[in-house]
Each structure stands twice: as C-alpha cells, then as structure tokens.
C-alpha cells in the first residue's frame, strides 16, 4: 500500500524528529523544579507592580517602539512589494528577514548603544523583509482586471491605486494589524536586551525571582494585546505617530564614533585587521565554522525539527477547542481564550520560564516553541475546519475527528505548518541567547568577548540557514500543491 505524498512527507518529518529526540539533550538539570513552579504559581496568584517605576511611560514606550518599527517597515515593505519581481529586491528582502529582530538588536546595540534607533531599526528591518514578501503575495493574488481597462494613458500609480491597490487594501490592512501585534511582542522581548520596554522589567523581575512582578507585567501585556482593537483606531493613528518620536527616548546622543568603529574595525575579521596572511584568515574561518557554526547549526536543526513536530501534535490536539464541529459556542469561547493566551506570550518569554524550571537543555526551548506555534496553528486549523460541511449522518467524537474532519483539513494544516517552519528555525537559533547551544548561543558568546567579527559570521550562517529552510519549505509546499491554501493574515 502506498500512502499519499502528504502522509509520506509527514512520516519522514516525524521519524526525523524521533531521531533528533534520541540525540537531543533534554535532561532536567534543576534539582527541584516543583519548588520553583510553586513559587511561580504563588506569584501568579499575587500579581504586584510595586517594583516598576513609570509604568505608564513604559507601556507607552513599548507601544511606541512597536508602532514606529511597524509603520516604517510597512511603508518600506510596500514599496519593495511593488518591485518584488526584481531578483535583487527579493534576495535583499530574504536577507533582512532571515536575521531575527533580537540579532539585529544585538548588532545595533554595538553601533548605537541604548538609543531609540536601536529598537526601531531592530524591528523595522526584519519586518520590512516580511512585509515585502507578504504584500507582494497579497498584491499578486488580488490583481484586478480593471487595471488594464481603465485610464489607459494615465500613470501607473493612478491606475494601480484605483484598481489592484483598492482590491488588496482589506487584506493589506488586516495583515498590517496582525504584524502590529507581532511588533508589540518583539518590542516587549527587546526589553530583555536593555531597550526600555515592558520586557526590561520582566527580565529584571525574572532574575530576582520576583514572580509577583512577572505576573503583573505579563498580565499588563495580555491586556495590551487583548484591547488592541479598542485603542488602535485608524482615526487615532496620526496622533500616535506624531507622539511616537517623543516617547522613544533621547535622540540627540547618537554615538557616531562607535558606529564608525563598529563598521570599520569591529566587524572586520581579526586576522585581516592584524594584517595576517590569507592562510591565517582561512584558519580563523575554519576554526569558527567547525567549532561554533556547525555545532550551533546542528543544535538549531535538532531543536527546530523536534519543535516543528511538537507544534504539529499540539495543533492537531488543540484545534477542536475552537472548531464548531466539536464544541458549542461557550466551549469555543473558552478555547479561544486559552489559545490567545498561549500564542500571545512571546516564545522567548515562555522559554525563559521553562529554563528557570528545568535548566539549560533543549527541553525548555522545545516546549516553548511547540506551545506558541501549536496554539497559533490550532487557531488557523480550527477556523479552516469551520468551513467544511459534514453529511447529516456524520460520525461522532473520535471518529468524526479522525475520519471526517482531519482528512479534510490536513492539507491546509500542512500548508500552515510548512509556512511556519522557517519561523520556528529562526526562533530556534535565537533561543540560544538563553543558554541553549543553538546558533544564538555562539553569537551572544562572541559578543560578550567583544568579538563582533565572529558574531557577524555566525549571524550570517543563521541567515543562510533560514533562507535555505524557506526555499525547502516552498518546494515541499509546491510539490504537495498546498501553496495556495494559505491565509496570510496569521500564517507568517
């Protein structure tokens, strides 16, 4: 018996993940994880903001970094999307989005220190690459025939804005508002690196074990995301944008010297800086690649593979929670609340929590990535399952799930999952910043030794890995013929 291609591919991925699980380091290191968990639970039950000064200002700054980053990248990404057929533009967009915003932040921190530009650019740069790609796809899918029928002889911009653009506008708008939610998450997480957002206090509270403060700041973050549609109104947007530059901090102190030093000295490979021979340079590169890049790459792939399959399992387990095929409206509401909370929590913060519980192995990262991404895909698959129509005499319970619903949503589920693959790999690399030995670990180690030349080579390796995974994922999607069933709103 031959299985369909989609099942074959799924089996290959599951087997690979099992193999990875055998070699992965998933030990629990802490002596008493339950004790720490009890302290966390106690903190969650007694949230307190006593240690946070200038709470409102911090909230405003968190929003300001997200808003300025998303606004800049939305405009730049839109312009790039218009010329996305150009190979150079495509490669450029792929490159800037293949480097995670936390890596960009590390780079800009060296250039500018804690300056508004650091946070803004760290969000704006990768988001520009993402916007360019997704906007180009949205515009491609929403071409309007009137473009070639009306106003021939008028400018491209005139015809475009009255036809293709208006046709695509609702999709562009909903994707942008989703990206803003991502921006809030990124802005918060950037606080872990010292940018003055909510994450800054979160990080401090975590390190001090002050879980009451952790709980309070997290609750504040959920409230911010949950009330998004009430305070983020189109009419208020100009006001917000005007206020933003003043909220980001002190612009005056741009350290030009450190910027020049970084791009002319710091990132030049050490052997070249010291006028050593080409052979020395090759030796330097070889050591770096074999002792850091390859082990990092290997661990990133192992983590990514297990996390991907973990994501898939959780998504398949959870999507009935928001599917009208399985639950009544009350049940679905609770399901939605659960999934929203799990997927709104930045995976970086989830990993941080599990790391405190279990110590530095791949386990915290696997669980964090699987939870966050699983909740996200469960939400998408649940929505897809609401679209299918069942026979009147359909089966019930587990038979309904396995014989009727799952077969009908499986291809869409795979499309979402493979779309998400690149992002899971990108996040696997970044979780190294927390001490797991993926690529990010070697990046942060090189930076702490002030060896920015090494850090940059390692970041470039990460970028190449992401580009390779992206293109492999696209190939699989094309070969399974599931590329078109994507809902952009939430997939990227």
């Amino acid at each position: 018996m031959r299985f369909p291609a989609s099942i074959q591919i799924s089996l290959v991925f599951v087997l690979l993940a099992l193999a990875c699980l055998v070699i992965a380091d998933i030990e629990v290191f802490t002596l008493n994880p339950w004790q720490e968990l009890a302290r966390m639970a106690e903190g969650i039950l007694s949230p307190s903001l006593s240690g946070v000064d200038n709470l409102l200002y911090t909230l405003a700054q968190t929003i300001a970094f997200a808003l300025s980053g998303v606004a800049l990248s939305c405009c730049a990404g839109f312009v790039l999307a218009l010329i996305y057929q150009n190979a150079f533009v495509r490669v450029f967009s792929a490159m800037i989005r293949s480097v995670h915003e936390l890596f960009w932040a590390l780079i800009f921190l060296q250039m500018f220190g804690i300056h508004p530009l650091t946070g803004v650019l760290a969000i704006a740069l990768p988001f520009t690459g993402i916007f360019a790609k997704v906007f180009a796809e949205i515009l491609e899918e929403n071409r309007h025939p009137a473009m070639d029928l009306v106003g021939s002889g008028s400018s491209f911009l005139s015809r475009f804005s009255y036809t293709h653009f208006m046709q695509a506008l609702p999709h562009l708008r909903s994707y942008t508002s989703y990206r803003f939610e991502c921006g809030l998450r990124s802005s918060t997480v950037l606080g872990f690196l010292g940018i003055p957002t909510l994450g800054y206090y979160l990080h401090g509270a975590f390190l001090q074990g002050d879980y009451s403060q952790v709980a309070a700041v997290l609750l504040l973050f959920y409230a911010l995301v949950a009330t998004l549609r009430y305070w983020m109104r189109p009419v208020l947007l100009p006001l917000y944008l005007l206020a933003t530059p003043f909220l980001l901090g002190d612009w005056a102190s741009l350290p030009v010297n450190s910027f020049w030093r970084f791009i002319t000295v710091d990132i030049v490979p050490a052997p070249l800086r010291n006028n050593a021979s080409f052979a020395d340079f090759m030796a330097w590169l070889q050591t770096l690649l074999f002792e850091q890049a390859l082990p990092g790459l290997f661990n990133t792939l192992v983590l990514g593979q297990i996390a991907l399959v973990g994501t898939a399992l959780l998504a398949l387990l959870w999507f009935p929670l928001v599917s009208e095929k399985f639950l009544s409206s009350v049940g679905r509401k609770l399901g939605h609340v659960f999934l929203v909370i799990v997927r709104s929590t930045p995976e970086y913060i989830l990993a941080f929590v599990f790391l405190l519980l279990w110590g530095p192995s791949l386990l915290p990262a696997i669980v964090a990535l699987a939870l966050h991404n699983g909740a996200l895909i469960a939400h998408l698959v649940g929505a897809a399952s609401n679209q299918i129509t069942l026979r009147i005499d359909h089966a019930r319970h587990i038979n309904l799930y396995s014989y009727e619903v799952l077969p009908q949503v499986f291809r869409q589920f795979l499309a979402f999952l493979f779309y998400r693959w690149e992002i899971i790999i990108r996040e696997s690399a970044i979780l190294g910043l927390l001490g797991i030995h993926t690529l990010g670990f070697f990046v942060i180690a090189a930076m702490e030794e002030l060896r920015f030349d090494r850090a940059l080579v390692l970041i470039a390796c990460t970028a190449l890995l992401n580009i390779a995974i992206d293109s492999l994922s696209r190939r699989i999607r094309v070969s399974l013929n599931i590329n078109r069933s994507i809902n952009h709103k939430r997939a990227e």
Binding site: H144, P145, A146, S152, S154, S158, Y162, P170
Partner: protein
Amino acid sequence: MNKPQLLKLEDCEIAYGPAAVFKNLNLNIGPGEQVALLGESGSGKTTLLRHLYAVLKPQGVAVVPQDFALVDNLSVFHNVYSGQLQNHSTIANLRNLVFPAAAEKTKVECLLSELQLEQKLLTPVAQLSGGQKQRTAVARAIYAGHTILLADEPVSAVDENQAELVLRLLLDAHETSVFAMHDVELALKFASRIIGLRDGEVMIDQQVAELRSDELSALY
C-alpha cells in the same frame, strides 16, 4: 469602394487558450458603424471583442466587460471616475481617491442621474445589485469619453424596462460601437450592422436594413 477603415482584419487567427477560436477571420469596421455581434454562447463573441480591444487599445477605447470588472471596495463615484484617470494628473487622481473633489462628484452625479443611479453615488459597488453594477460599468465607459466602444452584453443584467434607455445612452456617447448581444430584437433595433457568429465562423455580415429574417435563424 474606399471607405476609411477603423479596423481591418485579414486572414486573422485568434486563439484563446491552446485552441484557435477563429481561423481566417476577415473583418472591416468603419467609423460611425454600430455593429452588433450575435450568436450563441461559445460562438466567439467575447473572444472577438477581446481581440478587438487588444488591437484598438492604443488609440483609446471604452469597454463594458461581461463581468463588469468593477472594483468592489470602491464607491460608484470612484469606479466611474476611474474611466477618466488619463485626463487628470496623478496627484489629482490620488486626491480624488481619498477625498473626491466637489466638481468631479457633480460631473459623475449628472451622468449617473441619466442612468437612474444618482442615489448610489457614494455607495460601495459591493453593495449594489447586478443591474446597478452593470449600469455603473456603462457609466464608467461613457465617462471615459472615447469615440470607440466595445461592449460585451452591456444590458444583460439591467431591468427590462431600463435596457433600451441604457443602451441608447451608451451607443449615443460613442461614434463607433461593437457590442455583443443575446437579445436579437434589441440588437436589430439599435445596430446598423449585424455580425452573426457560430463556432468561430462569421455566418452573417449584413447591414440591418438588408437583413432577411430567415438569415438569423441559421445562427441559433
């Protein structure tokens, strides 16, 4: 005879997709003609109109496509105005997209009132009925101000009692028209010349005045 020609096709092959729809098509159309294309669905009317559009596009031509090709998210005003983008600067066009100028609104409203659609000036096209959408497409074609019109079943969705009025307005606004029709009676009433198509062949090409009634029955 040496009439001035607007369009001249000689031994023309028109393919739509892999299969050729027309082989050896010969067709002359002169200025001032009102040509109705008749024939069953699948006979090649839409394919011929598409080809004429490709040939005539450089000199400017108004179109009423079968599927209207309106932008659903835009109001009736914007859709009609888009017919005339070439007469305004890009800046003016962008301005009218966001905040329509009163003068432009009045001009479009005037035209719409002739088509009994003035109440829908600022309604998004998505909220219109089929007939209202088609009248919007007709208004856009008229507003474009070209001398040549290509229309594919331009009153197929319009209420019966409005069809004549709409077709009259549309044809009067253009010097030369080629329009596909399924309503033979209307075609005979409005056209000066009938071209009958069947399976990619021209079965009839006659001035309406010279057309014998039994000739039409060969088409259907």
